[in-house]
């Protein structure tokens, strides 16, 4: 599977890691300052255009990061080619579905009126 391999994978793994850390830090900051997280506040934050885009970006970065890490591990421990390809295909489909599903969910919830 030559999807995101070699130097590009290395770089994307780092870039997605930094993106995840930044978004997590933003989330932690939002939790620490301001009122406690009620449904109302969470819904307003998450379904605002900024919030929705950041959430989709978070899951996209998570899936990309997870793909590169999972691929590394599978290549290290699964040596039978058919099993390796099957496992990688299953992981790829699940991660792709995660991103699509989160994007659709956030699009459905998006509140364009503020």
């Amino acid at each position: 599977m030559r999807v995101f391999v070699g130097q590009r994978a290395w770089l994307l793994q780092r870039a997605s890691a930094v993106a995840l850390l930044l978004i997590l830090a933003l989330g932690a900051a939002l939790l620490l300052v301001g009122p406690p997280l009620t449904y109302e506040r969470w819904h307003a934050l998450a379904t605002s255009p900024h919030g929705a885009v950041i959430i989709v970006l978070f899951f996209a970065a998570l899936s990309l990061h997870g793909w590169i890490g999972a691929r590394d591990i599978v290549l290290d421990y699964v040596h039978s080619l058919p099993v390796r390809l099957s496992v990688l295909a299953i992981i790829a489909v699940i991660l792709f579905a995660v991103v699509i599903r989160v994007a659709l969910t956030m699009a459905a919830h998006l509140s364009l009126v503020s």
Partner: protein
């Protein structure tokens, strides 16, 4: 193991005997990464439920009150702490901070202990 007096150096089984802290940090990074990846679908479902309705949002809180979910959450807190801290350690090494062996060993210890302390604090808060 150093070579026996006067003899040639012997490196037999060296890798099997020694399991340095850096290796433990590395394995921990992988195990925590796999745990987090497995929990990803759960995270997506949690996101959907949290936005569904106020009742659904509150039901997540009550779900977390059951001890099984607390245990799952505890494992995930450890995994997230371990993975994020070990990841930051890797990123710092990438830009040349802390790569000498002595520093790398110290930071590996720091990562493992800090993640354990965070997990312990979560355990005290939730399981006690």
């Amino acid at each position: 193991m150093r070579s026996p007096a006067g003899g040639a150096p012997k490196f037999l089984n060296l890798i099997h005997i020694r399991f340095p802290i850096g290796a433990i940090a590395s394995i921990g990074h992988r195990i925590s990464g796999v745990l987090l990846l497995i929990s990803l679908p759960l995270l997506v479902l949690t996101l959907e439920r949290s936005l569904g309705s106020e009742a659904a949002f509150e039901s997540l809180r009550t779900a977390v009150d059951t001890s099984w979910w607390r245990l799952v959450l505890l494992v995930l807190v450890w995994a997230a702490a371990q993975h994020a801290l070990a990841g930051v350690r890797h990123l710092l090494m990438d830009i040349g901070i802390g790569s000498p062996l002595a520093q790398a060993r110290t930071s590996a210890w720091a990562v493992i202990l800090t993640a354990a302390i965070i997990a312990f604090a979560a355990a005290v808060r939730w399981l006690a």
